[in-house]
């Protein structure tokens, strides 16, 4: 018998727990010739802002040991272009679409969330809390429990869709932020976003990114993601969690589920191996069969 991979994250029901992470799968259609989109648990879009954003000066990316730094600067065509042009085509695949919402102000998050909620065809909203807050000198919203709560509460008022708060790891203790997000109305927590870092070129004696600092992702960050997941699960045992950070194989995905993730996201590995998400869906089923288990929930959180 084929094991049951269906999962429920509160009211968000998925056919399997394997999603593709924001910003690593374009708007969703770019990989359609390589990947069977209908096999994925969900597709998280590139982060959407109110107006189109040009993004940062290049170079925007640098390869680092078992990882990469990026400072794309939220380049996107804006929420209206996504709703009008991309979403109607993406819906045809029948895979839940999770829209990643970004903003420089609380009001921007709210307006983008309203537009995505009204249009129909969006299964959930994921708040990118790693955006620079213009009112506070560009620090990430997600480093402060108060700012996190402000954004989540404001968006909560503006939507009935399941609300995912994506947490930044760039904090000393992630649990107060996780608690603030849930108290303000987040249904689901997703962790982690990228880890701040810099890279230097010894030959040119310059930073390797034009914006100097960027977000580290890839296999290098997996232990950091697993650490924060483990901490948040202890603090909030009832909250559905999405694990993301460096997942590059079936084994990696299983590790996050063993640590308590209801679902997982593939990020940077999509660039290297676009078919990985599909392969992980298959691999999870095989792992359960080999273990004589018939439901993915049987392995969730067994590593305490």
């Amino acid at each position: 018998m084929t094991p049951d991979l269906r999962v429920n994250l509160g009211s968000l029901a998925l056919r399997n727990p394997v999603m593709v992470a924001a910003g690593t799968f374009g708007y969703g259609l770019e990989y359609r010739d390589l990947v069977d989109l209908s096999q994925l648990g969900a597709i998280v879009t590139k982060s959407l802002t109110l107006a189109p954003r040009m993004g940062n000066l290049p170079p925007r990316v640098a390869e680092t040991p078992a990882g990469m730094l990026n400072a794309i600067g939220l380049q996107n065509d804006g929420v209206d272009a996504f709703v009008l042009e991309t979403l109607p085509r993406l819906r045809d695949y029948g895979t839940p679409i999770i829209a990643s919402v970004a903003g420089e102000t609380v009001e921007e998050y709210v307006v983008v969330a309203e537009k995505l909620s009204r249009t129909g065809g969006v299964a959930a909203l994921e708040l990118n809390l790693s955006c620079p807050n213009q009112a506070r000198g560009g620090i990430e919203f997600g480093v402060s429990p108060e700012l996190t709560a402000q954004v989540v509460a404001a968006v909560r008022q503006a939507t009935d869709l399941p609300l995912i708060a994506k947490l930044t790891p760039n904090v000393g203790d992630i649990t107060p932020i996780a608690q603030a997000a849930v108290q303000a109305g987040a249904d689901i927590l997703c962790l982690i976003n990228t880890v701040l870092g810099v890279a230097v070129d010894a030959r040119t004696r310059q930073f390797r990114l034009a914006s100097k600092m960027g977000g580290l992702s890839g296999p290098a960050v997996k232990p950091i993601a697993q650490y924060h997941l483990w901490r948040v699960r202890q603090a909030l045992p009832e909250t559905p969690l999405i694990g993301v950070g460096g997942i590059s194989s079936v084994e990696d995905a299983i590790e996050f589920i063993l640590l308590g993730a209801h679902a997982i996201q593939i990020g940077t590995a999509n660039y290297v191996q676009p078919t990985l998400a599909q392969e992980i869906v298959q691999g999870l089923a095989e792992y359960l069969m080999e273990s004589g288990l018939n439901h993915i929930e049987a392995i969730r959180g067994v590593v305490m």
């Binding site: 770019e30 993004g55 925007r60 390869e63 296999p219």
Partner: protein, 259 residues
């Protein structure tokens, strides 16, 4: 599937791969993303311009030199093994049919896509059309593709930084001189970005049609990550970033915003 690692000039190897769908559809200027490893360190695939393609035999090749962990792994792939390959990707050189002389400007390791372009262009030329190759390198032993260019019967002019072969100086000096000759020309260039900037400027000043192939760090090659951003001028007088992997790597010189 790896057919051969053929030792070439300039400490390079020609990696010949059997992949009929790529060999059949590859157009000069396009590239492939290679992944010889199954591990994630090094992490990224790497883009390689296509040097030649034989649709009948189903093979194509790229040039590489062994100078990093990635290229070491690539060099160790045995004959008959597979290298994960995405492609052919990106835009391509478009012959300017009104030109009587096609000037191909190659700087350093920028020569491979122009070898492919010259090979496809040569059989299509009218009686009064010519190909002129301008190639620059630091030293004579780093010149790439001389045999291919000469076999096509193209005129080749060389510049080296140390004067060990041809003109001592930059290949862009040769281009400036060539553009002063009274022939209607079109320019196609690939090389370091600082060379391409000068090539573009020389052509734009003279109203010469010019296409350039730009290099940028490229994590995905499929238009997803927006890492390989190239600033372009938009029709409304503004600017925006395009992707070297999808809208590029070949751009019209007037489109690129050089700042």
């Amino acid at each position: 599937m790896v057919v051969e690692h053929r030792r070439r000039e300039a400490n390079l190897y020609e990696l010949i791969l059997h992949a009929p769908p790529i060999a059949q559809s590859a157009t000069p200027g396009q590239f492939v993303m290679l992944r010889p490893m199954r591990t994630h360190a090094p992490l990224w695939r790497r883009p390689y311009s296509i040097l030649r393609a034989n649709p009948d035999k189903g093979v194509f090749s790229v040039l590489y030199s062994v100078q990093s962990a990635f290229t070491e792994l690539l060099s160790m792939k045995p004959i008959g093994s597979t290298v994960q390959t995405l492609g052919p990707l990106g835009s391509y050189f478009q012959p300017v049919r009104s030109a009587r002389r096609h000037i191909l400007v190659a700087g350093g390791v920028g020569a491979p896509p122009l070898c492919f372009f010259a090979a496809r262009l040569a059989p299509t030329l009218q009686a009064d059309e010519r190909i002129l190759i301008l190639e620059g390198a630091r030293t004579a032993d780093l010149l790439i593709g001389m045999d291919e260019f000469r076999a096509l019967g193209a005129e080749v002019r060389i510049a080296t930084d140390d004067g060990s072969k041809g003109y001592q100086g930059y290949v862009t000096d040769l281009l400036a001189a060539a553009l002063n000759e009274p022939v209607e020309s079109a320019v196609y260039a690939c090389g370091p970005n600082r060379m391409l900037r000068v090539v573009a400027q020389l052509c734009l000043e003279r109203g010469v049609p010019c296409q350039i192939s730009l290099d940028a760090p490229m994590p995905c090659g499929m238009g997803v990550c927006l890492g390989c951003a190239v600033k372009v001028n938009t029709p409304d007088g503004g600017a925006w970033y395009k992707r070297a992997c999808v809208e590029g790597p070949v751009f019209w010189a007037e489109e690129v915003c050089w700042e």
